[in-house]
């Protein structure tokens, strides 16, 4: 398929919802609802057998009654038997891409497989990109397009998602919704009859809206071809991959889900490493890795510096770095120690982790962070202990004494400080070109905490634990090192 077919899928000037339903329990209703609710920027048309309006949109019973050249994408919720005729008529109106949600194809036995071959053949003949069938839909935030039969519609961002399982598209986007690090495009490949996960990733790799690919795959039709495709993708952008069916029991489940042959997982693992593809064992780890690639610069080396306001966090994070292959908890260089001595009371840790031991005044934290991040030996920073004061502030705000007893003033001060600290971390990271990852469980416990809000507002992920930040950082360094070793930069 050509590039402009993908453009028609992701950034269409108009969309036809075929099979729009007045019944709110039907996919044909939900699809139109989601398209309208997300505020799609292009024109919206709909068909329905009775021609009755749905959600305030006038429908037509026949594609023939729609104007030509106004819509280049059709979102198909009609029964499989109607779709060939539908595609022919849509092609006549200028449609270049079709997303087929209809089931009854490759997943439905020999007759379905035959119907799927025929559908692909006709689409190919008509010059229509065929996404699906049997998929949940496609979203594209630059066009505010939510053409899918499920929620959510995530915030705009630079992660491009392609998945063999529609539900994992939703899972990834739910994380995006929670953390605020958003998505450019997402598509559920469904049966991938014409367009496969690597095809979408290949489009993303050259898409200016997308900085990182995030994919879920189960079975592979041809491992060697898949390897060559993802290697070509990973040369152009970071790619994070989850593969279902990695264990023996999982492989049996995948075979019954997708009907494809399983291979030795260690071979798949080696193929990913060789291709420079980041492989994650779980959906949340994959999302967090992708969100990190989307929002942090790549580290230039393995040296991690931990900055914390209190001891315990730093110690556990040091353990996490120590256990992680590739990363190093660098000893603190003498000149860096001396520079920090100027700004901290004698009880600070004087080593890595840099534990401020409560010795901070109003501007200490940004100062320390800036000095540490600027040191040439430091490749990345994990930043801990933010949000404590904001958390206390919340308790005070919710308590019976607020705003008296000086509480209003102190709470507002702490809120400003917490927010400023995490925002400053993002600014320093951008300025020095090194990753600075802020971690606190408040990211989950209280997303309204000012430290968490500060991360979110500066476009960064606030990691729910230091361990998860270290894991994400390890993926970044693996990818950066892969590129360095091969002279790809």
């Amino acid at each position: 398929m050509k590039r402009d077919n993908f453009d028609a899928l992701f950034d269409p000037k108009g969309v036809i919802v075929a099979g729009a339903s007045t019944h709110p329990g039907k996919f044909g209703f939900v699809a139109l609802h989601n398209l309208l609710a997300a505020g799609y920027k292009g024109k919206v048309f709909a068909t329905n057998l009775e021609g009755t309006p749905v959600l305030g949109i006038d429908t037509v019973a026949d594609i023939d009654d729609l104007p030509a050249g106004e819509a280049d994408m059709v979102f198909v919720c009609t029964p499989a038997a109607a779709n060939i005729e539908l595609l022919r008529k849509c092609a006549g109106k200028g449609v270049r891409a079709a997303f087929i949600t209809s089931a009854g194809y490759g997943e439905a036995g020999p007759k379905g497989i035959e119907a799927q071959h025929e559908l692909v053949r006709i689409a190919d003949e008509l010059g229509i990109l065929l996404a699906g069938p049997n998929g949940q839909g496609v979203i594209s935030t630059p066009s505010s397009m939510c053409a899918q039969i499920v929620a959510p519609f995530p915030p705009r961002g630079r992660i491009g998602i392609a998945s063999q399982s529609g539900n994992f598209v939703s899972s990834f986007m739910n994380y995006a919704q929670h953390y605020g690090v958003g998505v450019s495009r997402a598509v559920s490949a469904g049966n991938a009859a014409m367009v496969t996960v690597p095809d979408y990733l290949d489009f993303y790799a050259d898409d200016p809206e997308t900085a990182v690919g995030l994919a879920y795959v189960e079975g592979l039709a041809d491992g060697r071809e898949f390897f060559e495709r993802i290697r070509a993708v990973a040369e152009r952008m970071p790619l994070v991959l989850v593969k279902g069916g990695a264990s023996e029991v999982g492989a049996r489940a995948a075979a019954s889900h997708t009907g494809s042959l399983a291979t030795d997982d260690r071979v798949f693992d080696g193929a990913c490493r060789q291709a420079g593809v980041v492989r994650a064992p779980s959906i949340e780890e994959a999302y967090e890795a992708a969100a990190t690639f989307a929002t942090q610069p790549l580290p230039k080396g393995p040296n991690v510096c931990v900055v914390t306001t209190a001891g315990g966090w730093g110690v556990v994070t040091a353990d996490a770095v120590g256990r992680t292959r590739g990363l190093q908890l660098m000893p603190l260089p003498d000149d860096l120690r001396a520079a920090l001595d100027q700004h901290l009371p004698p009880r600070w840790s004087r080593n890595n982790p840099i534990d401020l031991a409560g010795g901070e005044t109003k501007d200490t934290i940004p100062t320390i962070l800036e000095i540490a991040a600027n040191h040439p030996d430091v490749d990345s920073v994990v930043f801990l202990g933010m949000g404590i004061q904001g958390n206390q502030g919340r308790m005070e705000k919710d308590g019976p004494f607020y705003p008296e007893h000086g509480l209003e003033r102190i709470v507002s001060y702490h809120e400003r400080q917490d927010r400023r600290f995490t925002q400053t971390a993002a600014e320093i990271s951008d300025a020095v070109g090194k990753p600075i990852l802020t971690a606190t469980e408040l990211s989950m416990a209280d997303p309204s905490n000012p430290a968490v809000v500060g991360c979110r507002e500066s476009g960064k992920l606030c990691y729910a634990s230091a361990n998860r930040a270290v894991t994400a950082l390890a993926h970044l360094w693996d990818y950066a090192r892969h590129r360095q070793r091969r002279g790809l930069d």
């Binding site: 060697r224 042959l261 291979t263 260690r266 071979v267 798949f268 080696g270 060789q274 892969h482 091969r486």
Partner: protein, 215 residues
């Protein structure tokens, strides 16, 4: 199932592509065996060698640690006598008794999904239980081979170990890239096993090898 090459021919094929192998002699008689051992230096090993012989250890066709001419010629006579009609043409292989505390395995295997793969793993009697192995798809580059070495979980085996120096990584890369090159140059190659790959004074050397070709 394809056809296997003899140990000697397997090693010769892999050595052509840079896989380091032990120096060895092929002889046809007990006297020649003793003479070869004298040239190589004691102690030596003697093995019965032939295209059709794939499982020497299981059949008791390997004699280790032979310390003098008498034991070498006696072992060679026994091995030649142990050959069966199915073994076809056989000879006795005399090689230095290689000793090292560290063993690796390396090889080539044809994966049904990914095609030819290069493998590196920790060897020795615990190899299967440890299952510390890593794969890449052939062909591999030297950088890929270095990554494979980094992949092994048992990194301590690669550093200085029990009075022996660290493993020479360049030589280990030679083994892996050599295997990859051998696969590239021989489209009929189905699999190769280098087992054991013993580390002697830091240098990995193929002590046994088995190459299988398409029938």
């Amino acid at each position: 199932m394809g056809r296997t090459l003899s140990e000697t021919d397997s090693k010769r094929l892999l050595a052509q592509h840079g896989v380091p192998v032990v120096a060895e002699r092929i002889v046809a008689s007990p006297d020649a065996a003793a003479a070869a051992a004298g040239e190589i230096g004691y102690p030596v090993v003697a093995k019965l060698c032939g295209d059709a012989i794939a499982h020497k250890t299981e059949r008791g066709l390997v004699r280790l640690n032979l310390a003098d001419a008498d034991s070498v010629s006696a072992a060679a006579a026994e091995l030649l006598a142990a050959a069966t009609a199915d073994d076809g043409d056989v000879a006795v292989l005399i090689a230095p008794m290689v000793k090292g505390n560290r063993e690796f395995i390396a090889g080539l295997a044809d994966d049904p999904q990914f095609g030819m793969t290069v493998m590196l793993g920790v060897g020795g009697v615990l190899a299967e239980a440890l299952a510390d192995v890593t794969f890449r798809l052939a062909p591999i580059t030297r950088v890929d081979a270095e990554d494979m070495i980094d992949d092994l979980a048992t990194q301590r085996l690669l550093g200085p170990f029990r009075g022996e120096p660290a493993v020479d990584r360049v030589r280990l890369v030679d083994v892996l890239v050599g295997l990859s090159d051998a696969a590239g140059a021989n489209p009929d190659l189905v699999s190769a096993d280098v087992n054991p790959l013993i580390v002697v004074d830091g240098q990995p050397v193929a002590v046994d090898a088995l190459v299988e070709l398409r029938a």
